[in-house]
């Protein structure tokens, strides 16, 4: 998305300059087609994490494509009174493909989800001593739920992000635990006609004062929204979805 907004301003400037110089509307549409193609290439390189050689191949192929298109456009064209039937049919067919693929993916591309919370959480993993002089945070994240997604569609389906508020209840109160994100979950999708299990992890609570005595009791998991996910654990969040004892 950043690349899209970065290229949008130059596109608008280019469109203005092109139209002022040529006074031909179709030049603007060609510029828009080039912009859309550049966005397509940038998006593909980004989301599929293409390697160095693949990126070079894509760039060379794009250069060759633009060269061929340029040569074709250089040829003289007979003026037409109306849009040719083959061009009109191609536009209708492509438009139909765009709409059908989009709508079918939205309507039928759904996942079946099963959530299995952990039966208990280890106290040594959910409470970690980290006195300030020890430097970076040493502990690893803790799995509290496992979510199994089943995809029966013919295309991959992305995992919709669900928001949970996780609170560690101790004798002195409740502390919110942060969700731990893995880099490989950046584009979390379930492959076509397959099942995938995703672990929902949280970062343990750090204890800076080694003399403090904290007795954790349980971990509460609440369903929440993106806007409310950082509300404190003292706020009334209703009944928890799951209660996981700390042992």
């Amino acid at each position: 998305m950043v690349v899209f907004w970065l290229l949008l301003v130059p596109l608008i400037i280019v469109e203005l300059v092109v139209y002022l110089k040529s006074k031909k509307f179709y030049w603007l549409i060609y510029a828009l087609a080039i912009f859309t193609y550049v966005i397509s290439v940038c998006y593909t390189v980004d989301v599929f994490d293409l390697g160095k050689n693949a990126v070079i191949l894509v760039l060379l192929a794009s250069a060759a494509l633009m060269f061929i298109v340029g040569r074709q456009l250089g040829k003289k064209v007979k003026p037409q009174k109306r849009v040719r039937p083959c061009a009109r049919n191609a536009l209708i067919a492509l438009g139909a493909v765009l709409i059908i693929v989009f709508v079918v993916s939205v309507v039928f591309g759904k996942l079946e989800r099963t959530i299995l919370p952990e039966t208990s959480v280890d106290v040594d993993k959910i409470l970690v001593d980290n006195p300030k002089d020890q430097g970076p945070y040493p502990a690893s994240s803790v799995t509290i739920m496992r979510m199994t997604y089943t995809n029966t569609f013919i295309l991959p389906v992305p995992v919709k992000q669900e928001y949970y508020k996780v609170c560690l209840v101790t004798e002195s109160g409740a502390v919110q635990l942060s969700q731990s994100y893995a880099a490989e979950d950046r584009f979390n999708e379930v492959a076509a006609r397959s099942t995938k299990t995703v672990e929902y992890k949280v970062m343990p609570n750090q204890v800076y004062d080694p003399t403090a005595v904290i007795t954790p009791k349980e971990v509460l998991v609440y369903a929440t929204s993106q806007e409310k996910q950082w509300e404190p654990c003292d706020a009334d969040a209703g009944a928890p979805l799951y209660t996981i004892p700390v042992v």
């Binding site: 179709y26 989009f102 591309g109």
Partner: protein, 58 residues
Amino acid sequence: MDLEQIFYTVAALFTLAAIIYFAWEYLEVLPRVTKAFLLFTLSLFIFIGASALREVER
């Protein structure tokens, strides 16, 4: 411009707004491969449209 053409234009604008809003709201539920395919198809669609317009405007 005839009166009915104004209404047809407004109808087309509403349809376009509906398509754009639908795409904006539901884009996140599409997998990466579908989004990449749609982007390339869209660029091809715009290119063919520009070529058709070029023949007519000349």
